[in-house]
Symmetry: C2
């Protein structure tokens, strides 16, 4: 950060030639982060940006957030804008204009040449979260009858305008994808070997309309760093690179985590999301779960008169602890299984193996927690005696704990698997849903155990 | 999967030459998945594997799980094993022997030449989860005084033995890292340009001892596909590639999710983890949270006699619903903020902005849920009349709901930020912890509101 402070000094002193000298050696990501974090009223951010060489300006621009991109575009000349646009990869251009107000979109479209304009419009048409919206069209194509020597010459001529040349695509004259070949394999080949003989023909590709989550899964499964995108006729139309997939993976994880916490996922980052949108995404599940809790209320109401008549109202003071422990034990199981399902480690056929595993875990955990609880109740009552029959009370509560943990883990591990089998999102079966169901069961167990013990 | 079934037929008919023909065209990942899923007693899996060409056998081997790797190594000859080892990248070899019993490790070490043996022992020394344990040593080095032509010749000669040649490293004779250069930029250069003039000198690198989570963050931040690893003297010792980082990202996410559900993370996959280990990872938090719930019990005990004396025991039937809604509202906030912290979107300085945002959200959500709850109580009581004063009861419960949601969201959004500020893991401040705290507060609010309404 030292060099950035020095830069600001130089900008203030208007020593622009020295500034230009320094900026070229800076990392584009760090530079983007630095000017994003500057005060909005500080004109130095824009000045610094305008002093970047054209190519670097485009790279920095692609890393900036929406607000900063907009502020810059509003300040720079048409010539500067067109310079940046000519250097930007098309997927970055599209990502940028998707977020901009109409006036800026118009200006960008006007600045682009007619070819680019057509391609931008094409890319804008793909649905959000589809492979088409993720891909770029700057890929490297080879003919299958080229020699290695010819292929290397072509790559050397064109590689600078391509988003990635790690994986090269072999196509026929109608652009049908025939095979893929790693650049390293081309380089390792002898000059006169034919590309068609070297290429891989078991092509891993996706259709433009494929969901981005599926694309991310394929990247993970096959350890890819680039993947071809084809249209319905099998013609090569684009390229997806790993850096965009990493972003998708994070988005998908965030969505899962939100669902597990009883929220609908938000589209933008939390800080950029408005209060009303946040409220809307959260209120639905709170309402559903609140209504479902009617059952737990009914269970307590049913036993209410017994509790009063038999002088057992003190039993209610253990309800929160029993419910929370049951809920937590259930969430532990459900979250473990949901994560396994997301990672593809388990399937519905494993359900009996999993139930048996969770059963044994719940016996160990249940007895451990129950014993500790027994001791806790005895000690607490020794300090502040409130219980008429502390041993029996401690026994009832601890026995309920064991049953609760067993049943909570059973429900926690089975519901996500059943949801997945029924093509529902297993993440919806996480803690809040499990807690609501387990609550009701815990209360039933508790009152029934108590009824036997106190003979009501 | 059709071609795999055909393969099995051919193996049974002992038509091995035809099998060999078919297997070379198969995808290695699909092949690995296929033989992994075969029955353990089925010898065809091993036969199929032994029919693979040497290079492909190594690739398939790297994708197999631990059990299958062990079964294969126990069945194949020393010559076959040494063939596979010579083709495996060193990081894959190390990953493999780290998981094997001592007898196999010994055999592998014996099979390797003395150079490889030294390197394996070196790599095994790095702590788990460090950059050193993640890296491979098969990287491509260039001298800074080479011309582009010379560099391309060298890459063509050596690329086949390198794990990745997308990013090349420029070093001095003492192996000190001088710069990095993308292969595409080498290819785009003119034959007589000097590598030293083309390379990037703002090097993004890590030390061997850096934590893998930090490595993953750097890959994300700088959109890298490969990164150099250096020792304390700045000498180049390894290369980390994006495919290994993607695995780290998943591991880290799984750890976060486990912590958020009150579990200590497990080292291996759920299915490979034993019952006792699972129980150990889960029981600690259950015990801590169970003990903390002593407070909620004490609050209820304190009001118990009032409830009985004023004929208000029916109020306890709303406790589960109030606690769950408070807990859920709090988790929604805490999980949102924890995810933001993990993604680097918010910092402690944003705390007041976040509190203000959550306050407004909680007002909207609170009123919405409260109104629905009011209606629910009135309707339920109209169907099964149990309440002496339904309007007042509905009002008390709904008012408590509003206060509970406001306080739950406040605690949910502040605790993770405070934990992060105190260098604690914010994920520990997720649902279960928040629920326990919110429960006690909800009960206090509830009984105080009721005390005012019923004047006890």
């Amino acid at each position: 950060m030292e060099e950035f402070k020095e830069l600001l000094e130089l900008v203030k002193e208007k020593k622009f030639i020295q500034v230009k000298d320094i900026v070229q050696d800076l990392n584009v990501v760090d530079f983007a982060e630095f000017i994003e974090e500057m005060d909005e009223d500080d004109a130095s951010a824009i000045i610094l940006f305008r002093l970047l060489p054209k190519e670097m300006a485009a790279e920095v621009f692609a890393y900036l957030d929406r607000d900063m991109q907009q502020r810059i575009v509003e300040k720079i000349s048409d010539k500067e804008l067109s310079g940046i646009l000519s250097e930007l990869f098309l997927d970055d251009t599209v990502d940028f204009i998707e977020e901009m107000p109409a006036s800026i979109v118009k200006r960008v479209i006007k600045m682009s040449d007619s070819d680019t304009r057509k391609q931008i419009n094409q890319l804008l048409k793909y649905p959000e979260d589809s492979a088409g919206s993720l891909m770029t069209i700057e890929f490297m194509e080879l003919d299958d009858d080229w020699t290695v020597k010819k292929a290397i010459e072509e790559v050397r001529k064109k590689s600078q305008d391509k988003e990635s040349v790690s994986t090269l695509f072999v196509t026929d004259p109608k652009r049908k994808l025939l095979g893929t070949i790693e650049l390293r394999d081309v380089l390792a080949g002898n000059d006169d070997e034919i590309i068609g003989n070297l290429m891989e023909t078991d092509i891993i590709s996706v259709n433009t309309m494929e969901d981005q989550a599926e694309v991310a899964d394929m990247f993970k499964k096959y350890d890819l760093i680039a993947m071809p995108v084809v249209d319905n006729e099998g013609r090569l139309v684009g390229l997806i690179t790993i850096d965009d997939v990493v972003d998708v993976m994070e988005e998908e994880t965030t969505e899962d985590i939100y669902k597990m916490a009883a929220m609908e996922p938000i589209e933008e980052s939390y800080m950029d999301t408005g209060v009303f949108t946040l409220a809307k995404k959260r209120i639905v599940w709170l309402m559903v779960l609140m209504i479902s809790a009617t059952f737990t209320g009914m269970i307590i109401s049913k036993y209410e008169s017994d509790l009063v008549n038999y002088n057992l109202v003190f039993l209610t003071s253990y309800i929160p602890m029993l419910m929370d422990t049951g809920g937590n034990a259930g969430s532990q199981a459900s979250v473990s299984i949901i994560r396994c399902i997301v990672l593809g480690e388990v399937a519905f056929k494993d359900i009996f193996k999993i139930i048996w595993k969770e059963f044994r875990v719940s016996i160990i955990v249940g007895i451990g927690v129950a014993v500790l609880n027994f001791i806790r109740i005895i000690i607490t009552n020794a300090i502040y005696p409130t219980l008429a029959n502390p041993l029996l009370t401690a026994f009832i509560v601890s026995l309920t704990l064991i049953f609760s943990i067993i049943i909570a883990k059973f429900i926690g591990c089975t519901l996500p698997l059943i949801a997945h089998k029924m093509k529902l999102d297993p993440a919806l079966m996480a803690s809040p849903m499990i807690t609501t169901i387990v609550d009701a069961l815990v209360l039933l167990i508790y009152f029934n155990v108590a009824a036997i013990a106190f003979r009501f």
